[in-house]
């Protein structure tokens, strides 16, 4: 018998038991739904972290600390030679200017920008109101979402990028009109005596306004200056104090992205703790993979349950159609074809279940994606991404699972003795 004829007959007999077919398919559909969603969440999640990392870090950049932060085992011993950072939980050591110059000499390193994070007193604009401000260093290859202005290339040393929240606070009417205007930052020189405090006003031209983005961490509240401008402020504030020249962490720019790993190796050999953008991404992705794995596990459980459903349904189908099978065999239908008939029925069940389940998952995704994005406030980012190949693999896989679970009932049908099957009394 031809495969086409067998598969038409298989589909026809399924159609005759619509409710049963549908219910059995739905069992496998639950599995398809869960698996499709977990795959979509995995793809979406990884794409999301990719975006987060590219919005906040530079793939050519490494983050370097003196040593890997240690979980604190009781109070740390004081030492004169090295200054240390100690918080309640972690203890580490600062990088000093010697370290910075050593790192600069490594082959492939373009520049080293320690996190100056200058602690200024306030920022003010046309309105004259004074506001606290956190400052950070601008990196040209970190993606910023801009509401106004543009940052083609690097930031000049007298330029600043404001966040949207500061626009009205500082007294500008809107984002666009703030661009090109001047803001003042006042910083204290920490080493000046208490009796005669010294402070200075620094002027910056607003280059652009960064808008609130679901992806960027720092663009939300920090104002960005060029590396040199940060250093100037830092030097003014801290020079002459004990902590001058001590940094918890520094960014190291490599000449190209593929150089980062060799530089990381060199740094590690020198005793520093270095992480590439890929490492940071990897940590987040591990998290997503674990979550995806759990969801996949649930899906697999649903599929395993549905296997028994299919076996049961197909056994009943064989018992119901003993006479039909007997007649087919009497008419010369081969065992192999009888078996195939029932395996194809199972395949149809798997296909319907897989298609319905993953179809519902896609619809679910379409409905839920905007809701999630809104709830998490991540803008246009979609957390569920359905890849056609993944859906195809899920459906094909479930068809195979269904065929495999149809093997036992199909064998029973194939082995049926036509004489027994055709006995009427």
């Amino acid at each position: 018998m031809r495969l086409r004829d067998v598969s038409i007959r298989a589909a026809r007999s399924l159609k005759q038991a619509k409710a049963r077919t549908l219910l059995t398919s739905l069992a496998i559909g639950v599995g398809a739904f869960t698996i499709t969603l977990s795959l979509a969440a995995g793809v979406g999640g990884r794409a999301y972290t990719d975006q987060i990392v590219s919005a906040n870090t530079d793939i050519k950049e490494l983050s370097v600390a003196k040593a890997k932060p240690q979980e604190q085992q009781g109070p740390q011993k004081y030492s004169d030679t090295s200054s240390g950072v100690a918080t309640g939980l972690f203890a580490g050591q600062y990088l000093n200017l010697d370290d910075i110059s050593k790192i600069k000499q490594i082959d492939g390193v373009v520049s080293v920008s320690p996190n100056y994070n200058p602690q200024v007193r306030y920022i003010s604009g046309p309105s004259g109101d004074r506001y606290l401000a956190a400052l950070s260093t601008f990196s040209p290859s970190v993606t910023l979402k801009l509401a106004a202005g543009s940052t083609s290339g690097d930031l000049a040393d007298n330029e600043i990028i404001l966040t949207e929240a500061y626009v009205t606070a500082l007294g500008f009417s809107d984002d666009q009109s703030a661009v090109g205007q001047t803001v003042n930052i006042v910083a204290d020189k920490l080493s000046s005596p208490l009796s005669n405090p010294e402070s200075r006003t620094f002027n910056y031209v607003v280059k652009a306004i960064s808008s609130k983005s679901g992806l960027a961490f720092r663009a939300q509240s920090t104002l960005l200056l060029s590396n040199n401008a940060s250093k100037t402020l830092y030097d003014y504030i801290n020079q002459g104090t004990r902590n001058y020249g001590n940094f918890t962490v520094t960014a190291v720019q490599a000449v190209s992205a593929d150089k980062t790993n060799t530089i990381k190796q060199t740094l590690t050999d020198m005793g520093y703790f270095a992480q590439t953008a890929a490492d940071i991404l990897g940590v987040i992705n591990t998290f997503i993979n674990v979550l995806q794995g759990i969801l996949l596990g649930f899906g697999a459980l649903a599929v395993i349950t549905s296997v028994f459903g299919i076996i049961n349904t197909q056994y009943i189908s064989v018992l119901e159609r003993v006479q039909q099978i007997g007649l087919m065999k009497a008419l010369g239908m081969r065992r192999r074809d009888v078996g195939r008939l029932f395996k194809l029925e199972a395949a149809w069940i798997g296909f319907i279940g897989g298609a319905v389940g993953s179809g519902l998952a896609v619809i679910f995704g379409l409905v839920v994606n905007p809701i999630i994005s809104k709830a998490l406030d991540i803008g246009d980012v979609r957390l569920l991404i359905f890849e056609p190949l993944n859906i195809f693999i899920v459906v094909a896989g479930l068809v195979l699972v269904a065929v495999a679970s149809g093997i036992l009932p199909a064998r029973k049908a194939a082995r049926l003795n036509p004489i027994d099957a055709l006995r009427t009394e």
Partner: protein
């Protein structure tokens, strides 16, 4: 020509051996109509099963046109049955959920007849049993007599050489039964197809060329017009 030689078939084991067929021998010429007569339990159905290769006897041969079908492997027997034999049963065994067309199509599908050639054959068979107007009706909508006529259409669609009929009128009243009988004998005479009817109905048996009587697994008598 069908030669049945020394067929012996037993059921059961050791102390409980039951001999259904005991050294059965006879010959059927091509195109003949043959009645296998006997009471229930006489072994007549088993004889039909053995002759069609559905059942395997302990001993003996069934030689059809010079070939012993019992020595063939399962695949070849199946192929032989799908191309050269067909069956009509007392309880019709038509598929109630399928259309008349699909019911008749089944033997052609099993025999791997190309899709293009099926339609004309199916329509010819349905015409022969006067069910062409019911082509698209489901078999469950048919009356008993119509169902058996549908079974006849299914049996003749692939132009078999041998037609087995197991109590073909057993579930029908005398009028509809008569119509089915006429169809079978008409087809037998016109196409020189060997017709083997298993029955306990004397009137039906008397319409056949040869009557083979079976009693307790042995041939009681073979009578023939020829």
């Amino acid at each position: 020509m069908i030669e049945v030689k020394n067929i012996t078939k037993t059921y059961g084991k050791k102390d409980n051996v039951f001999r259904v067929l005991n050294d059965v021998n006879f010959t059927i010429p091509d195109g003949a109509s043959v009645a296998i007569l006997g009471k229930s339990g006489s072994g007549k159905s088993t004889l039909m099963h053995v002759m069609s290769g559905l059942d395997r006897p302990d001993k003996g041969q069934v030689v059809i046109d010079g070939q012993d079908i019992l020595s063939m492997n399962q695949k070849d027997i199946d192929k032989f049955r799908s191309t050269a034999m067909s069956f009509i049963f007392q309880s019709f065994f038509v598929q109630a959920n399928e259309s008349c067309y699909d019911n008749v199509s089944l033997p052609l599908e099993i025999a791997n007849v190309p899709t293009k050639k099926r339609r004309s054959k199916i329509e010819a068979a349905l015409k022969a049993v006067e069910l062409i107007d019911k082509k698209k009706s489901r078999a469950r909508e048919l009356s008993g007599g119509q169902k058996q006529r549908l079974a006849v259409a299914r049996a003749i669609v692939n132009q078999p050489k041998i037609l087995f009929a197991d109590e073909p009128t057993g579930n029908l009243d005398s009028v509809t039964g008569g119509v089915v009988e006429d169809l079978l004998f008409d087809y037998n005479k016109r196409n020189k197809v060997t017709l083997i009817v298993v029955t306990h109905d004397e009137d039906l048996a008397n319409r056949c060329d040869i009557q083979i009587r079976i009693k307790d697994g042995e041939i009681e008598s073979v009578k023939g017009k020829k």
